[in-house]
């Protein structure tokens, strides 16, 4: 397990257990975190599971793949630390991860 903290746009914090090997998006849905829609269910084809990774965690989480970067074109208010949470695998190294969820995912 890895602890993951989701901070909603209004500042509400949720710290939950993420299963190693699952994705940050799946962890959000399992814990009913607001602000994650995940319309396509994790296929990297809808850009509705956008998160802004905490600045300090961003280098550890890493950069999006080319495919993910293309999908980010369909998201809004994309920042240098933005990722699609379905593309972030939960690992031991991400224990303590902090991500921010946006106010709006396009719907």
């Amino acid at each position: 397990m890895a602890k993951i903290t989701f901070i909603e746009h209004d500042g509400t914090k949720h710290t939950v257990d993420g299963e190693i090997g699952s994705t940050v998006m799946e962890t959000a849905l399992r814990n009913q975190i607001g602000g994650i829609v995940a319309e396509c269910g994790g296929a990297c084809t809808c850009a509705t599971c956008l998160v802004h990774v905490d600045e300090a965690w961003s280098p550890i989480v890493g950069k999006p793949s080319a495919e993910e970067e293309d999908m980010l074109d369909f998201a809004f208010e994309v920042k240098p630390t933005s990722r699609l949470s379905c593309q972030i695998k939960v690992t031991e190294a991400l224990d303590g991860l902090i991500v921010n969820t946006p106010a709006y995912q396009g719907r």
Binding site: G41, C46, D73, G106
Partner: protein, 342 residues
């Protein structure tokens, strides 16, 4: 007023469940028309995961979304359904017992003895960018689709996005518009390389502009845009005078007009009985991801089952005086004739 199209069943949604319903209805000699807002069949399978594998279709260990769609189209070919693609069902009203009148946003009118709502997660509609105060301009000077290019002649256009839609409309509208400015969040475009090259050549020749950043402010009044501000990735603001904006950020599923058809919804889903997946309105069915009942699973295989049971009930509405004899495709020569294999 166009001519009314009469059919046994109108299926709203041409995703996998809507497509398989054609098969189950067809075996019972019931004809169907299908309406879908997308310009292609397959629904989410074709739009969201055409190349992604699906592992839980019975007896098919592995198939892609597009593969499943193609296989279903082959399976229903003998029943020759009529598709109305790129159209959204706007209104649905009960006018008989049972008989329904259904209209689309393109002005088509259907009369059907039964209606199957197989709308999945709702209708795919353009994503609306979260720019403050955009609503009053939508449909007037902010457009999410181009219906008539002439409407943009001699206009100053702001096209937003980096995919094929944004690039294609940039290239198509640039010759007739007064000026086109393309806005994208990064200086890389996911669209077809040929389109990207053509766009870059136009920029190099001074025939259009490109701005890297995100639109953050609109100016105008009475629905008419006059200018937009673009915040660059370095924080610098650029102001562009425009007559219209065309944002292309892909599609998202919205429940859409289903909410207006007088059905009592539970969490944006349509409650149905589990004997025929019929709503509280006789003759009006809901199958696939859009319905709900105790134990419901949003699986394609559940939708297939629902379509089969629905067809049995529809038969009684379409052929009220006939008795339905249950038959198997393996042994019934009558079913095999319908399938064109006997």
């Amino acid at each position: 007023m166009s001519d009314t199209i009469k059919t046994d069943v109108l299926i709203i949604g041409a995703g996998p469940v809507g497509l398989f319903a054609v098969f189950e209805l067809g075996l019972l000699d019931i004809k169907a028309h299908l309406v879908d807002i997308l310009d292609k069949v397959g629904g989410q399978c074709a739009e969201l995961y055409p190349e992604k594998p699906i592992y839980d279709i019975p007896a098919v260990p592995f198939i892609t979304g597009q593969g499943l769609t193609d296989a279903l189209m082959q399976q229903i070919k003998p029943f020759n359904p009529t598709f109305h693609l790129g159209e959204m069902v706007a209104t649905l009203e009960k006018i008989g017992d049972p008989l329904f009148r259904v209209t689309t946003d393109r002005g088509k009118v259907f009369e059907a003895k039964s209606v199957a709502i197989a709308a999945g997660g709702g209708s795919f509609q353009p994503k609306r960018p979260p720019i403050p105060g955009i609503e009053p301009y939508e449909g007037k000077s902010v457009h999410y689709a181009v219906r008539k290019m002439e409407a943009f002649r001699d206009k100053r256009l702001l096209i937003v996005g980096g995919g094929d839609s944004a690039l294609d409309w940039t290239l198509n509208l640039q010759p007739i518009a007064k000026r086109v400015t393309l806005v994208h969040r990064r200086d890389e475009f996911r669209g077809a390389p040929d389109s990207v090259n053509k766009m870059r050549a136009l920029v190099a020749a001074g025939q259009m502009d490109i701005k890297i950043g995100q639109v953050n402010l609109l100016e105008g009044g009475d629905g008419q845009l006059t200018a937009a501000s673009i915040k660059g990735n370095d924080g610098a603001i650029a102001r562009v005078e425009i007559d219209a904006m065309l944002p292309f950020f892909g599609l998202t599923m919205k429940l859409g007009p289903v909410a207006d058809w007088g059905l009592k919804l539970e969490d944006e889903l349509i409650p149905v009985d589990t004997g025929a997946f019929e709503t509280t309105v006789p003759g009006l069915f809901a199958i696939g991801d859009i319905n709900t009942y105790p134990g419901k699973l949003k699986l394609i295989l559940s939708g297939f089952h629902e379509a089969a049971l629905m067809a049995q009930k529809v038969y009684h509405y379409v052929y009220p005086d006939k008795r339905l004899v249950f038959q198997y495709t393996t042994s019934s020569t009558s079913l095999q004739k319908k399938l064109g294999v006997a």
